[in-house]
């Protein structure tokens, strides 16, 4: 399982209420007509249809954790206190990535150019959430492969840019997962293009 595995044509299960939360929807307070909710749902489905979700993952041995540093088997050093805490019971790490492809970004741009900013905002939020769900899919799948061996994954995963896990470490993930083959590019400022692309790491627990 140590080489890079690439998954294509993914259609992950996602949580609609998390998309609404990204848009500031408050279950108790926000008032939305049935018709407006159907429009939101239509746009979420539109997003789902136009995402071209791919993912990649690899399992790597953790050589040493010396908080905040986590040293992987190829010598890559990741740094973050919370990351070190997350991986404290792990001897291996799951390094993963998901991307929604460039078409959805073109469609978001087009909606904005047509003056449909509210639609663009909904599609943007849905694309972010569904792309994130592809990482849930990867974790569930790898978790399933691990279970017969008495292993499981940490519940949480961390992405560069959160807390003290510096965004510049996206470069390490990009290299480890060969982002280029997934159609992702990375800018000097560590931005990922297409925008709906995300890297993450989780720990593997158990022998």
């Amino acid at each position: 399982m140590h080489e890079i595995k690439v998954l294509k044509c993914l259609k992950p299960v996602y949580n609609k209420s998390l998309i609404l939360s990204r848009l500031g929807y408050d279950k108790k307070r926000t008032v939305l007509s049935g018709e407006a909710m159907r429009e939101v749902e239509r746009l979420i489905l539109y997003t789902e249809k136009n995402l071209n979700l791919k993912a990649a993952y690899r399992v790597m041995d953790i050589i040493r954790i010396d908080a905040p540093q986590v040293v992987l088997s190829d010598g890559t050093v990741l740094s973050g206190m919370k990351l070190s805490e997350l991986l404290k019971d792990s001897k291996e790490a799951l390094i993963m990535c998901a991307t929604g492809g460039s078409k959805i970004m073109e469609l978001i741009e087009r909606l904005q150019a047509e003056g449909k900013m509210s639609e663009a905002a909904i599609v943007d939020a849905a694309a972010s959430e569904i792309t994130d769900s592809a990482l849930d899919l990867v974790m569930n799948m790898v978790g399933q492969y691990l279970r017969p061996k008495g292993q499981f994954l940490t519940k949480m995963r961390f992405s560069p840019g959160y807390g003290d896990f510096d965004i510049t470490q996206q470069r390490d993930f990009y290299r480890l997962l060969d982002g280029e083959t997934l159609g992702i590019s990375i800018t000097d400022t560590c931005m990922l293009i297409p925008e709906k692309s995300v890297f993450a790491i989780a720990g593997i627990i158990g022998k």
Binding site: V6, E39, A121, Q144, G150, C190, I193
Partner: protein, 798 residues
């Protein structure tokens, strides 16, 4: 073991399976990192002991310890050449342990990599890998097979086909679910329909979760299950305790769910990860007094993809089968298929589904191309593009077989007629792959003219199909539509066939609708009328063009009139939005208050007309702006602050405002009422190095519509350009957005330049990674979100 003997096991009792084996063997000394199957074969005494523990605990069926012993998975350990031998040995060990009353199921699971299209493993490679395992298990003397812990329905199909092509033993198939779907996205009903149609003798779920979460999956399968259902959950969730993986549920608690699972529809129970012989012993105690629940025996006509099931019945909403993936008479599609270009296929599939098709007919009949290769490519493309099930439109048995083989659901064959050759070739094919089929009432003598003759053929083909185990629910009869241009009575004959099928014979029907008007002008009128007449006679489905909106209007209306659309729900859902929009336009002619409502509702379509009506009614432009639009947009902001509106509603309000202002502005200018229109000038940009700008665009739009003059410089903007522009326009505020920690430093650069130039304008910043303390540290003002940016800007220009 015969299939009949297998079914007998379930007579009036709950069948008990075994529990987790991995944990038992690890406790017995199996080290990490080894090939578990190889180690177990070399430590047969320990394996026999583990199996016997389950036999003694009460398992009716134990699984061979061959979970990962398929050729592909064994190649991870360099053992693929030992596949047959290893499986034979492990089956023999299980046989030795089982005794006389316990059955041995040859255990097959995932090859450890995903099949195409998700991964790189080709379907036939997976089938071959499983076949090597099946061969070994058969040699080892298993009584039946179990395919378990599958995440992808297609991989489960590959394993099932491998078993079926090598033997006639019973096969149980269980998949693992993550919440309401499998990890790769299949719902329980599609899993059940696909697998039981393909010949699985029991279906269900294993691993996944604890027993409580499995109840819902079994409940969903139950109404449609023709085969026993299996639940084999984990002992709750895994955690790490003193360096060891442990599951959080004890045997007693686990077994206490037996009653609920049986009530939900489970006929066989067992355990997966974290369960031990004690769990099975407890299950035995709890199930002794339980009996399987009686199932409703109603036959359902179900067709499915790997993600979606469609039920066909004359009392349910009419099923539209999209006809457009057929190259006949379509030059562009013909060319695309000739060139192997599947882009157009994907586009046509998508547009038909968006227009309301619930199934898609796929035809690859172009002269001079390899129909088998093309049909298979079209099926793959459609599966990767949309979720609706498919109808395979071909008379080429070879092409049909290759498409049916790789289709990860239950398809319909279009069609099988009464012609001898068709019956001989296509009925076995439909049976092998579990497909439904369209029965075409044509025989070797040709196309019968009268309904009576067609009905005779329907009976004959049905009688043949029955021999293969097909029921009426597996068939759709084609009413056989001919053009009324050459024989006007033929439409009535078709209607008679439909009526007889629906009311007397109780079988679903379909028609190729547009044939009826061939050769006539204004064909859509004939098509629409004929469709209504056919639906009134009980037609279940039709192959038609869903992108013809008038035809779809007819379908929606007919569903209401025939009470197939319960409470007209679908009709109201579809048309209610359009009705509301019209009402708003009408209302907007009545009063200024309604214009206010339109802004509040963010009704971009109606607002311009409403403003025009206000102007026609003689209201001054400045009054419309000051007394209606501005209070309305302020109210939108208030509602957003109270969270009664969420972001899209805030934006829609601003968009409606923008449209209203476009109508109003010429009037304001004309009457010199526009002098104080804007609150101030804002230069806005996403900083250098930052290429994502939807957030900034939303802020810019809101600022504009809350009365600011906004100069938007776009994204990835150099600090110097921002400064020059602000100076040139004498800006009141520079507003900057940054998404990343790597780019937010550019905000500081801008601020330093502002100070250097002695500029007095304010700097306002926002973006995902920013907070107030960073803003303060560079001498800027922080806006947490788009609306707060507006409020902040209003404060700053006061």
């Amino acid at each position: 073991m015969t299939k009949k003997e297998f079914r007998k096991l379930f007579n009036n009792r709950i069948v008990l399976l075994d529990g987790g084996m991995g944990t038992l063997l690890q406790e017995a000394g199996m080290p990490g990192g080894v090939c578990p199957e190889k180690w177990a074969a070399e430590n047969s005494d320990l394996l026999i002991k583990a199996h016997r523990n389950y036999v003694e605990a009460g398992s009716d069926i134990i699984y061979t310890f061959t979970f990962g012993a398929n050729r592909l998975k064994l190649s991870d350990y360099g053992l693929s050449d030992e596949t047959v031998e290893l499986n034979r040995t492990l089956a023999q060990i299980a046989r030795k342990a089982a005794g006389r009353n316990t059955k041995i199921a040859g255990d097959i699971s995932s090859c450890g990599s995903l099949l195409s299209p998700f991964g790189d493993i080709d379907f036939e490679t997976a089938v071959d890998s499983f076949k090597a395992q099946v061969k070994g298990l058969l040699e080892g003397g298993v009584d039946l097979f179990v395919i378990e812990t599958m995440m992808d329905l297609q991989e489960a199909r590959a394993a099932l086909i491998a078993v079926k092509e090598l033997c006639d033993l019973p096969v149980m198939v269980t998949m693992t679910f993550d919440g309401p779907r499998t990890i790769m996205g299949s719902d329980p009903v599609s899993v059940l329909v696909t697998l039981q149609s393909l010949g699985a003798d029991a279906v269900g779920c294993n691993c996944s979760s604890g027993p409580a979460e499995m109840v819902e999956i079994i409940e969903k399968m139950k109404p449609y299950a023709k085969v026993p259902l299996i639940a084999k959950p984990n002992a709750g969730k895994p955690t790490l305790k003193q360096g060891k993986t442990v599951f959080n549920m004890d045997a007693g608690t686990f077994a206490s769910y037996a009653g609920t699972l049986v009530e939900a529809g489970a006929d066989a129970l067992g355990g997966c990860c974290g369960t031990t012989p004690l769990f099975i012993e407890k299950l035995k105690e709890c199930t002794q007094s339980l009996r399987p629940v009686q199932r409703e025996t109603k036959p359902y006509s179900l067709v499915c993809s790997n993600r979606e099931t469609v039920e066909i019945h004359p009392s349910l909403p009419f099923t539209v089968i999209g006809e457009r993936l057929n190259p006949t008479g379509k030059k562009a599609l013909k060319e695309a298929l000739k060139n192997g270009d599947m882009e157009l296929v994907a586009e046509i599939a998508r547009s038909q589904v968006e227009a309301g098709a619930r199934l898609l007919d796929i035809n690859a009949g172009v002269a001079g191309i390899d129909e088998k290769v093309t049909l298979e490519a079209m099926v793959r493309t459609v599966c990767n593009t949309v979720s609706v099930p498919i109808v395979l439109d071909s008379s080429n048995a070879e092409a049909l077989e290759s498409a049916l083989r790789i289709y990860p659901g239950r398809a319909i064959i279009n069609s099988i007629s009464g012609e001898k050759e068709k019956i001989e070739k296509l009925l076995p094919l439909a049976k092998k792959y579990g497909a439904m089929f369209i029965l075409l009432p044509v025989n070797d003598q040709g196309v019968p003219e009268t309904a009576e003759e067609r009905i005779d053929i329907v009976r004959e083909v049905y009688n043949e199909a029955k021999k293969f185990g097909f029921g009426k629910e597996d068939i759709l009869v084609d009413g056989l539509v001919m053009t009324v241009a050459s024989n006007q009575s033929c439409a009535v004959e078709t209607l008679k066939v439909i009526s007889w099928c629906s009311k007397r014979f109780k079988v679903n029907t379909t028609i190729g609708l547009s044939n009826v008007s061939f050769g006539l002008p204004a064909r859509e009128h004939i098509n629409a009328s004929f469709l209504s007449m056919a639906v009134a006679n009980g037609l279940s489905t039709a192959i038609l063009n869903p992108n013809n909106e008038s035809m779809m209007q007819n379908v929606r209306a007919t569903d209401v009139l025939m009470a197939r659309d319960l409470d007209a729900k679908n009709y109201i859902d579809f048309y209610s939005g359009q009705t509301k929009s019209e009402n708003n336009t009408v209302k907007s002619q009545a009063s200024g208050k309604t214009l206010y409502d339109l802004i509040l509702a963010g009704d971009r379509d109606a607002v311009e007309e409403a403003v025009r009506q206000e102007l026609i009614a003689g209201r001054l432009a400045k009054d419309i702006m000051n007394m209606v639009l501005i209070p309305a947009i302020q109210k939108v902001g208030e509602l957003y602050e109270k969270k009664e509106y969420f972001l899209p509603q805030l934006i829609r309000g601003a968009e409606a405002m923008e449209k209203a202002m476009k109508v109003l502005e010429p009037e304001l200018v004309k009457n010199s009422d526009n002098n104080n229109h804007h609150h101030g000038i804002i230069v806005i940009a996403t900083v250098k190095g930052d290429v994502h700008d939807i957030g900034k665009n939303i802020v810019a739009m809101l600022l504009r519509n809350y009365g600011f003059n906004v100069i938007d410089l776009g994204k990835d903007v150099e600090a110097n350009h921002i400064i020059e522009t602000a100076k040139k326009h004498n800006a009141d505020i520079i507003a900057l957005s940054a998404l990343m920690t790597t780019t937010m430093n550019q905000m500081k650069v801008v601020k330093e330049l502002m100070d250097c130039e002695g500029m007095t304008c304010r700097l306002m910043v926002g973006g995902a990674v920013l907070d107030n303390s960073y803003a303060e540290s560079i001498g800027a003002y922080y806006a947490h979100d788009a609306y707060r940016a507006v409020k902040l800007a209003e404060e700053l220009v006061k």
